[in-house]
C-alpha cells in the first residue's frame, strides 16, 4: 500500500468524518435513486395510464385524459363483487395463517430445545424452495375428486371441497405459511424469558401469560407477517386459476386486461384497488411498529 493512496483514503475518510450530511447522502443516494426514481416513477407512469383510454381493437393507448376506466369500475357491480371477494379471501388466509403460525412459532422459540429449534427452522424454511407452481399443482391433485383430501375426508364423513374458493383459501394459506412463521418466530425470540418467568412468579397461569404478556409483545411481528400474507393474496392470480374452479380474483382481472384486450389503462385502473388497500393497511401497520419486523 503506497503512501499516496493511504493518504488519499485518509483524507477522504477525514472529509467523510467531518461532514455527516455528505455521508448520509452517499449512503441514501443509490437506494433512493433505485427505489425512488425507478420504482416510484414506474408506479406513477402506470397510474397515469389509468387516466387514459385505449383503442379497443388495436390495443394501442390513446392519450386522452378521462375517468372512464374508473367510472366503469364504479358502476359495474361485478368489479365490486370481485374486490370484496378478494379482500375477504386475503383476510381469511391471514387469519388462518396467524392461527397456525403462532403456536408453531411459540413452540419453536420458547419450548423446543436448541437442537430441535435448528431442525424446525430448517423444516419450515425448506418448502420455500419448492416452486410455488409445483406446490399449487400438488394441492390441485390433493383436492381432486379421488385425491388425498377426499380419501381422508371419507374417514370423517366429509367430502373434498373440490376446486373453488375454499380450495383457494386452503392453498394460499399453505403457500404463505412460512412467511408468517418467520417474523413471529423472530419476534418471539426477542422476547426475554425473564418477562415470562416474572409473569409466572406473579401467579399468572399459562393461558393468562400468553394472552396478556406474549401476544401484545409479539403483535407487531404478527402484523408484519400479515402484510405479506395479505398482499400476496390480494394480487394473486395463479393459484385461483389452478385450484379456484370457475372463480376469479382481482389479480385475474388485472392480468386478463393486460394480456387480453390489451387494455393497460383499464388494468392500471383495476390495479389501483389493491394498491390503495395496501397503502391503507401499511399506514395502519406503521402505528403498531410492525414495519420494523418485516
Amino acid at each position: 500500500m503506497s503512501t499516496a493512496s493511504e493518504g488519499t483514503r485518509h483524507g477522504l475518510s477525514a472529509v467523510l468524518h467531518r461532514h455527516p450530511r455528505l455521508r448520509l447522502s452517499l449512503l441514501i443516494g443509490p437506494p433512493m435513486l433505485w427505489l425512488g426514481v425507478a420504482y416510484l416513477g414506474a408506479l406513477g407512469a402506470l397510474f397515469i395510464t389509468s387516466l387514459w383510454g385505449q383503442d379497443s381493437f388495436t390495443g394501442t393507448v390513446v392519450r386522452e385524459w378521462n375517468l372512464d376506466n374508473f367510472r366503469i369500475l364504479w358502476e359495474s357491480e361485478v368489479y365490486r363483487k370481485i374486490a370484496f371477494r378478494t379482500v375477504g379471501i386475503a383476510a381469511l388466509v391471514t387469519a388462518i395463517d396467524v392461527l397456525i403460525a403462532f403456536p408453531v412459532a411459540l413452540y419453536m422459540a420458547k419450548i423446543a430445545s436448541p437442537r430441535m429449534r435448528q431442525v424446525l427452522v430448517i423444516a419450515v424454511l425448506t418448502p420455500l424452495w419448492a416452486s410455488y407452481l409445483v406446490k399449487a399443482y400438488a394441492w390441485r391433485i390433493m383436492l381432486s375428486e379421488d385425491g388425498v383430501v377426499s380419501d381422508l375426508g371419507g374417514l370423517l364423513g366429509i367430502d373434498t371441497p373440490g376446486y373453488g374458493l375454499v380450495a383457494v383459501v386452503i392453498t394460499l394459506a399453505y403457500l404463505w405459511l412460512p412467511f408468517m412463521i418467520l417474523p413471529i418466530y423472530a419476534g418471539l425470540e426477542r422476547l426475554p424469558d425473564s418477562i415470562l418467568e416474572a409473569s409466572m412468579d406473579l401467579g399468572a397461569k399459562t393461558g393468562h401469560t400468553v394472552r396478556r404478556v406474549v401476544v401484545p409483545q409479539v403483535f407487531p411481528a404478527v402484523i408484519a407477517g400479515s402484510i405479506f400474507t395479505f398482499s400476496l393474496s390480494l394480487g394473486d392470480y395463479i393459484t385461483v386459476r389452478i385450484v379456484g374452479g370457475a372463480n376469479q380474483m382481482l389479480g385475474n382481472v388485472v392480468y386478463d386486461n393486460v394480456g387480453a384486450a390489451n387494455n393497460l389503462p383499464f388494468a392500471a385502473a383495476v390495479a389501483t384497488i389493491p394498491v390503495v388497500i395496501m397503502l391503507v393497511y401499511l399506514g395502519a401497520a406503521r402505528r403498531t411498529g410492525a414495519l420494523e419486523n418485516v
Partner: protein
C-alpha cells in the same frame, strides 16, 4: 419528524416531478384507428429475400417450435438452424391475448397467431402482408385454408397457414349417459352434471354460445357467431351466465382439462382433439364428438412482424415450418390437422384420418376463431357489432 406543514409541499413537488417523467413514457397511437371500420394499415410486403440475418425470434404456442430441449427426439428447429444459419429464439405464450401484447413490443420476428389474434395484429400494424411467392411450400397448403377471413384482407394474405383443429365436445363415457349429440348438453340448466361441466377460459368462448343460439334461436338473427350486435351479445351472455352455475372450472391449459377428466372433477365440456387423445392414452374412458350444431375451431397462421430486423430468416422459417416433414412433426406432436397436404403422405398411419386433415366438408362445418370487430363480419351495415373489448368485459361479468 418534520412538521406536517413542511412535508406536504415537498411531497407534491416530488409527485409533480414524477408525473412529468411518467407522462413522457407509455407509447400511444399516432393515428387513431378509423371509427367503426377495419382498415389494414398500408405496409409494404417483402419483395425478395436477402441474406439470412443470423437470428430469428419466434413467438409461438407451446409445442410449435421444439428444438430438442424438452425432448431430444422432438426437434425440427436444429436442422433449420444449420441449413439457414438463423439462430432460433423461442418465446411461448398461453393465450392469443398474450401473443398480441407481446407482438407490440416489436421484439419478435414471427408469431403463430390464431384467428382471434391475427386481425388485431393486422389492424394494429404489428404484422405486414406476406409475399406467398417467397414461400415455396405455400403451394401445397390445403386450399380451404387460403384466403380466409382471419388470415387475409381483400385477397392479400397476411400469413402462412400452420394447422387447424376443432373445439369438440368431450365426455366421460362411464359417467355421461346417454351419449350427448348436441351442445345443449353443456348449456342445459337442469343438467344432471351440474358442477362438472367445463368450458374454455377465454372471451372467445362467447362464440360457442352464439353458435348454439344461431341454431336453436333463429329469431335472434345470428349469421356468424363472431359477428354479434349488442342484443345478440346480450343473449349469448345470458346463456353463459346460466351456464356458470354448471361449471366446475374454466380451463386454459390442456393439462388441467386432462387431469379434471381423469379425476372426474369434470365429466363433459369443450375440448381439443389432443386432450381427448392424451386422456385416452392414459386409459381414461372419454369420447370426443362434433355435435350436430357444428362447432368453433382455430386455425393458426404464421405472421411476420412489421418491425422485424430479420425478415429473410423469418421467411425461411415460414417455409421450413410448413414443409411436409416439419408440418407433420408439429401436427403429430401438438395434436392438430396439418396445413400442408403432403404432410399426410408421410404422417403416421391413421393420423390424418383421426384429425380429418383432408376432410374439407368437416373443415367447412367449423367456425374458426376470428376476432370480433365493430364492422360486422357477416356483412351487415345497419348495425355496429360488438368488438373484442366488449367481449372481454362481458367475459369478466359472466365469470362473476
Amino acid at each position: 419528524m418534520t412538521p406536517r406543514h413542511l412535508r406536504w409541499p415537498r411531497i407534491v413537488a416530488a409527485c409533480a416531478a414524477l408525473t412529468l417523467t411518467a407522462a413522457c413514457g407509455t407509447t400511444s397511437s399516432d393515428d387513431k384507428a378509423s371509427d367503426g371500420g377495419f382498415k389494414a394499415p398500408d405496409l409494404p410486403m417483402l419483395q425478395k429475400l436477402g441474406d439470412p440475418e443470423g437470428e430469428v425470434n419466434i413467438l409461438a404456442w407451446p409445442g410449435y417450435a421444439e428444438d430438442g430441449s424438452t425432448d431430444p427426439k422432438v426437434d425440427w428447429v436444429t436442422d433449420f438452424e444449420k441449413e439457414s444459419g438463423c439462430q432460433v429464439n423461442v418465446k411461448y405464450f398461453g393465450t392469443s391475448d398474450e401473443a398480441v401484447s407481446l407482438m407490440k413490443t416489436g421484439e419478435y420476428d414471427v408469431v403463430s397467431a390464431s384467428g382471434d389474434a391475427s386481425l388485431r395484429l393486422i389492424a394494429g400494424g404489428d404484422v405486414e402482408p406476406v409475399n406467398t411467392d417467397l414461400v415455396p411450400n405455400y403451394a401445397d397448403v390445403f386450399d380451404f385454408l387460403k384466403d380466409r377471413d382471419w388470415n387475409s384482407v381483400d385477397g392479400q394474405m397476411y400469413g402462412i397457414p400452420h394447422g387447424w383443429g376443432a373445439n369438440l365436445l368431450m365426455y366421460r363415457t362411464d359417467e355421461v349417459t346417454p351419449a350427448p349429440t348436441s351442445w345443449g348438453a353443456v348449456f342445459d340448466t337442469d343438467s344432471p352434471y351440474k358442477g362438472k361441466v367445463t368450458a374454455y377460459d377465454s372471451p372467445i368462448y362467447i362464440a360457442d354460445a352464439a353458435l348454439y343460439l344461431m341454431k336453436h334461436e333463429p329469431d335472434l338473427g345470428i349469421e356468424n357467431p363472431y359477428s354479434l350486435d349488442q342484443d345478440q351479445l346480450d343473449a349469448a351472455v345470458d346463456l353463459l351466465k346460466d351456464q356458470r352455475g354448471l361449471i366446475s372450472e374454466y380451463w386454459s391449459d390442456y393439462l388441467k382439462e386432462v387431469q379434471a377428466f381423469t379425476t372426474g372433477d369434470s365429466v363433459i365440456g369443450t375440448t381439443w382433439q389432443v386432450i381427448a387423445s392424451v386422456a385416452k392414452g392414459e386409459d381414461v374412458p372419454v369420447e370426443a364428438i362434433l355435435p350436430e350444431e357444428g362447432s368453433t375451431g382455430w386455425s393458426d397462421t404464421w405472421m411476420v412482424s412489421s418491425k422485424s430486423d430479420h425478415k429473410t430468416c423469418a421467411y425461411l422459417w415460414l417455409d421450413h415450418i410448413i414443409s411436409p416433414e416439419a408440418n407433420d412433426a408439429v401436427a403429430e406432436y401438438f395434436g392438430e390437422a396439418p396445413a400442408n397436404a403432403k404432410a399426410c403422405d408421410i404422417a403416421t398411419e391413421g393420423f390424418c384420418d383421426e384429425y380429418k386433415a383432408a376432410d374439407a366438408d368437416f373443415a367447412a362445418q367449423i367456425w374458426y376463431w376470428t376476432t370480433p370487430i365493430e364492422q360486422c363480419l357477416d356483412g351487415r351495415t345497419d348495425v355496429k357489432c360488438t368488438d373484442y373489448g366488449d367481449w372481454t368485459q362481458a367475459w369478466t361479468e359472466i365469470k362473476g
